[in-house]
């Protein structure tokens, strides 16, 4: 017995020592590949060489262009062999090498031959290889065969063609869309996988045709679906149909709900989960509809398989965001998952419990979490911290234990992102829960005593400077701040100096002591620190006189900086040093909205840190420059706002015209950007005739025509109107483009001498309320709201009538007012019945305005809104109400 054991071990050692690829070297394998050229092919040997080549490729070895070409050409010779195993390897190898477009031709005829072969498996593989290496022109040649293959009776051939179709749809959609009849037939196939692949492809082909998708779903939910995979697809498509048709149905008679509910009893777990998820994600799902899905998911929470536990807790976590009470029943099962070996499951369980727990369970939960935090990675910890922040906002009375928890974890080891999440949470809690302020600030003070992250130290110092002076005993924070001046790097020291100055400016009793400390900073080794200390001492009266600091000085030193930094940067770059000093008032305040492409950036790179997309060049400055170059506009004053271009012509018309509305205090200038898209025409004396009969408060004062508008060379026409000062005057303008057209010989580029007068009707143009408001955000809405005060507050309620959804109503009002949404309040959580949205901005005349909108659903679709406005001028508060009332 003992001998046998020894023998076994020996065997194993031998095995482990020897690898078939030991010492493998690219050059040698390429030499070996010459065997592919032998007149008498040794199939076994050739297969071995291909295996080695595959191994090399998998190890990250790269072939030069010449090497790859040589291997590819040699491999194509192997088509001569009739050995089945070798042929299968050849197909794989060609796909792995991915020959270049000019080489593909070498192998096309062999593959075409295989695609028409009587041997089914040759056909299937040839289709896959051809579709991998083919381009559009070749595809048109083989399309006929592919269509036949889709309905081939051999399921492998059909699947090969269908999956190829899924890939080709990305590159050659117009060709693949022609196969829909064949694909439709394949959906009825008895072979499970063929049906799965066909269903996927058919849906992709028809995804923009709602009616077709709806028909497909209706017929399949009644018929037979042969594999769990296809069933999952069908559930997904069913959800889509419900989503698209669901707006006008009452809960209770939702189409296809019975189908989804029946899938909860399917024998495959994959299908059960898909159905449960589909139900939980239904728009406006009721508790009654949710219950069966939650019950099924709850059972899976105690499954022995981690994947099922994960899937269940992940789904319940999502449900908890919108329907926390429906998940409460699962809390006991969920609590047992806190100790799950799999940390992803444990984190999801904890964050779900934090969402569903009630006030009485907070302390118990925190105890459990404390043990759990020590052994999870930072990324999980951040999720937990964010969940705790939300919990604290939900139960403000529990701030003591939650704040304690946050301060404890702040002292433990952790990376920047984690610490930042904790600091952000403490800051938010301090802002939102007044009772938590003093303890929170002290926690932050302790943290900066031993903080390794400059960014966080400076953020906290800045925050201390704002909040510290407002506390009952501001002097207790000075020591923490001044310690930074001794112990930190220059960036933090400079931050500390500013914070000290803020305390001095805000608290008169502290002033003499702060001045002593600031004077010590005059000897700092860093320029910036010394400069700041000097500036503060001089402006705050550090010469010894202890007087109340002037409001203007406070505003200058510590006031909110309401100019977007991007705009300031551009203006500074454009500033040419001269006698005239840089004027900060000339910097536009308009926040440029993000380009759509940036917002929609695909999330397919989960870990990528790719360069951020570059924003558009700032157009505000270029407008300012263009307008100031026209003498007639010189006395119009400062430009308040320039709108986004509004198209006045359809796309692809003869003349493309858009207009930018420039708003001044007493004037409006329309800048018509015109492009002539006809090569055979030259336009001259181009003007826009503007009819303002529906805008009678405006009167035209100036028009600047365009002398000549050659093909594809854009030009601008300006028309200026006078309007009542500082008033948001509205109106509609109709526009006609008038010009003299001269024929141009495209060959020589010469224009005819004779021209013909012509005109071209443009779309109408409106001056709307939003043209008189600027989007200017505030960093802390609550503080801004308090500081602007209730003097000119105006509040009223409005019925907005039936709306598609709450989100749509919120969006409409935001767009109507043209103000900047703050703190992400423009996003309405799904299924909400009420929502508060905060807006800020500047009204024409440079008047700050803040708006608080409270929306509520009144009945099934009717939306009611309470609008509260605070501004620095009562007429502006009234004007905002006027805009909503007339909008």
């Amino acid at each position: 017995m003992a001998q046998q054991l020894v023998k076994k071990d020996d065997d194993r050692d031998d095995e482990a020592e020897y690898s078939p690829f030991m010492g493998i070297e690219k050059g040698a394998v390429l030499q070996e590949a010459r065997v592919f050229n032998d007149p008498q092919l040794d199939a076994r040997r050739c297969s071995q060489v291909i295996t080695k080549l595959l191994y090399l490729l998998n190890q990250g070895e790269t072939f030069t262009k010449t090497e790859a070409t040589e291997v590819f050409f040699a491999v194509t010779k192997l088509f001569q062999s009739k050995d089945m195993g070798l042929r299968r390897m050849v197909y794989l190898m060609i796909k792995e090498i991915s020959p270049s477009a000019d080489e593909v031709i070498i192998v096309t005829s062999s593959l075409m031959k295989d695609m028409n072969s009587k041997i089914d498996m040759y056909r299937a593989n040839a289709i896959r290889v051809l579709c991998r290496i083919t381009d559009g022109t070749l595809l048109a040649q083989i399309e006929r065969y592919l269509k036949q293959a889709i309905v081939d009776k051999n399921p492998v051939v059909a699947s090969a063609a269908l999956v190829s179709g899924i890939h080709l749809l990305q590159t050659n959609p117009e060709i693949v869309k022609r196969w829909s009849n064949e694909v439709q037939e394949a959906v009825q196939s008895r072979a499970a996988l063929v049906q799965f692949h066909a269903l996927g492809l058919l849906h992709q082909i028809r995804q923009n045709d709602r009616l077709a998708v709806s028909k497909l779903v209706t017929s399949l939910t009644r018929g037979t679906v042969r594999s769990p995979l296809a069933q999952c697809l069908l559930i997904r498509y069913t959800s889509q149909v419900i989503r698209e048709s669901g707006n006008n149905t009452q809960p209770g008679d939702r189409p296809f709900y019975d189908y989804l509910e029946s899938c909860l009893r399917h024998k495959s777990e994959m299908v059960i989960f898909e159905a449960a998820r589909a139900i939980t994600e239904l728009n406006g799902v009721t508790t009654r509809e949710l219950t069966p899905a939650i019950t099924v998911l709850q059972l899976f929470l105690s499954s022995s398989k981690p994947v099922l536990r994960f899937a269940a807790v992940r789904t319940l976590n999502k449900v908890a965001m919108t329907h926390p009470t429906s998940v409460t029943n699962c809390n006991i099962d969920m609590e047992s998952l806190i100790s799950d070996q799999n940390r992803s499951i444990a984190t999801l369980a904890i964050t779900t419990l934090l969402k569903t727990g009630n006030e009485s369970s907070v302390d118990r939960l925190m105890k459990q979490i404390t043990n759990f935090m020590s052994d999870i990675a930072d990324e999980f910890k951040i999720v937990v911290v964010e969940a705790i922040r939300s919990l604290c906002q939900k139960f403000p009375l529990k701030y003591r234990s939650l704040m304690n928890f946050l301060s404890n974890i702040l002292r433990e080891e952790g990376g920047f992102e984690y610490k930042k999440a904790i600091v952000d949470s403490i800051v938010i809690l301090i802002r939102e829960i007044p009772d938590a302020k003093e303890t929170g600030l002290l926690h932050l003070c302790e943290f900066i005593e031993d903080c390794e992250f400059t960014y966080l130290s400076t953020q906290i110092l800045h925050f201390l400077g704002i909040e510290g002076p407002k506390t009952s005993d501001p002097s207790r924070y000075i020591r923490f701040v001044y310690n930074r001046v001794h112990l930190e790097n220059a960036t933090v020291r400079a931050g500390a100096v500013s914070t000290l100055a803020k305390f001095g400016a805000a608290v008169d009793e502290l002033k003499p002591r702060v001045f002593v400390l600031l004077r010590r900073c005059l000897f700092d080794s860093d320029d910036e620190v010394r400069d700041r200390a000097t500036l503060y001492l001089n402006t705050l009266g550090g010469d010894g006189s202890v007087v109340e600091t002037d409001k203007a000085v406070k505003d200058f030193l510590f006031g909110t900086f309401d100019i977007p930094l991007v705009n300031l940067e551009t203006s500074l770059k454009n500033y040419v040093p001269s006698e005239e000093a840089f004027d900060i008032d000339s910097v536009p305040k308009e926040v440029k909205s993000q380009p759509l492409a940036e917002k929609k950036a695909p999330g397919k790179k989960p870990t990528g840190l790719g360069a951020p997309p570059s924003g558009p060049p700032s157009t505000a400055d270029s407008y300012q420059r263009v307008l100031s170059s026209i003498p007639e506009f010189a006395n119009f004053g400062n430009l308040f706002k320039s709108s986004e271009p509004v198209e006045l012509t359809e796309a692809e018309t003869e003349y493309a015209v858009n207009v930018v509305k420039h708003i001044f205090d007493r004037h409006v200038v329309f800048q018509y950007n015109c492009t002539n898209t006809i090569p055979e025409q030259l336009l001259e004396n181009v003007i826009v005739i503007v009819d303002n009969s529906e805008a009678d408060e405006f009167s035209e004062v100036f028009s600047r025509p365009l002398k000549s508008l050659p093909y594809d060379s854009p030009g601008q026409i300006f028309v200026a109107f006078e309007k009542p000062e500082g008033v948001p005057t509205l109106g509609k303008f109709s526009n006609v483009l008038k010009f003299i057209v001269r024929e141009v010989d495209p060959a020589t580029g010469e224009a005819d001498d004779d021209g013909v007068e012509d005109e071209y009707q443009l779309e109408d143009l409106d001056i709307v309320s939003a043209d008189y408001t600027l989007k200017v955000g505030v960093s802390n809405f609550r503080n801004a709201w308090e500081s602007i005060g209730p003097d000119y507050e105006r509040e009223d309620e409005y019925g907005l009538g039936p709306r598609e959804s709450l989100a749509e109503a919120v969006n409409t009002v935001i767009n109507l007012l043209g103000l900047q949404p703050c703190e992400g309040t423009e996003v309405v959580p799904p299924n909400s019945r009420s929502h508060t949205c905060l807006l800020s901005g500047v009204f024409i005349g440079n008047i700050k305005v803040l708006v608080r909108l409270s929306f509520g659903l009144d009945g099934p679709k009717d939306v009611a809104m309470k609008l509260t406005v605070r501004s620095e001028d009562e007429t502006v508060s009234d004007a905002i109400h006027e805009i909503v009332a007339s909008g």
């Binding site: 194993r12 095995e15 482990a16 690898s19 078939p20 690829f21 297969s47 071995q48 291909i50 295996t51 595959l54 191994y55 998998n58 190890q59 990250g60 089945m84 195993g85 042929r87 299968r88 390897m89 794989l92 796909k95 041997i119 089914d120 498996m121 040759y122 593989n125 896959r128 991998r132 009776k153 051999n154 399921p155 492998v156 699947s159 999956v163 890939h167 072979a191 996988l193 692949h197 996927g200 995979l229 999952c232 697809l233 994959m270 989960f273 898909e274 398989k305 981690p306 994947v307 994960f310 899937a311 992940r314 799999n342 992803s344 499951i345 999330g603 397919k604 989960p606 870990t607 990528g608």
Partner: protein
């Protein structure tokens, strides 16, 4: 989309890798991330016991089979449950080719056939075949038995 299929040995060296729709510059990052995930969690795990993780909207299902650890990464329709199906097909096919949960040596001995199996199972990010018996025939260019 199945974003990646990876086989690694006990030391974390890659034996086979397949990426679909993952930019070349991110592949190395994924390799090290997965291998570390395995090193942290696969110790003491039974053959074919599935572990799961997620990173933002990407799911990872992984397991160990003999000396080889297998990782499958997916997103969208290929969530943890669909990936379980994929990895189950892969482990069944590998066991079938190797006769049992493989040692590294055995895995390398059957390297070519395992590559062929993988080629039948995942085709540029899509699941193509799920039954080991059919795959066994397909890699030898034999039509499926049910046909």
């Amino acid at each position: 989309m199945i974003l990646a299929v990876l086989f690694a040995n006990a030391e974390g060296n890659i034996l086979i890798k397949r990426f679909h729709g993952v930019p070349a510059e991110e592949r190395l990052h994924w390799r090290s991330f997965l291998v570390k995930l395995g090193a942290d969690n696969l110790k003491g795990v039974k053959n074919e016991e599935l572990l799961v993780a997620c990173h933002k909207s990407v799911y990872i299902v992984y397991t160990i089979l003999g000396d080889v650890s297998i990782y499958v990464v997916g997103k969208d329709a290929y969530d943890e449950l669909a990936l379980s199906e994929v990895i189950f097909t892969i482990t069944s096919a590998v066991k079938d080719v190797c006769g049992k949960p493989p040692t590294e040596r055995r895995f390398l001995d059957k390297y070519g056939r395992i590559c062929l199996c993988l080629d039948e199972i995942v085709w540029k990010g899509y699941l193509e075949n799920t039954e080991k018996d059919r795959i066994k025939r397909l890699i030898r260019l034999k039509p499926p038995t049910e046909f």
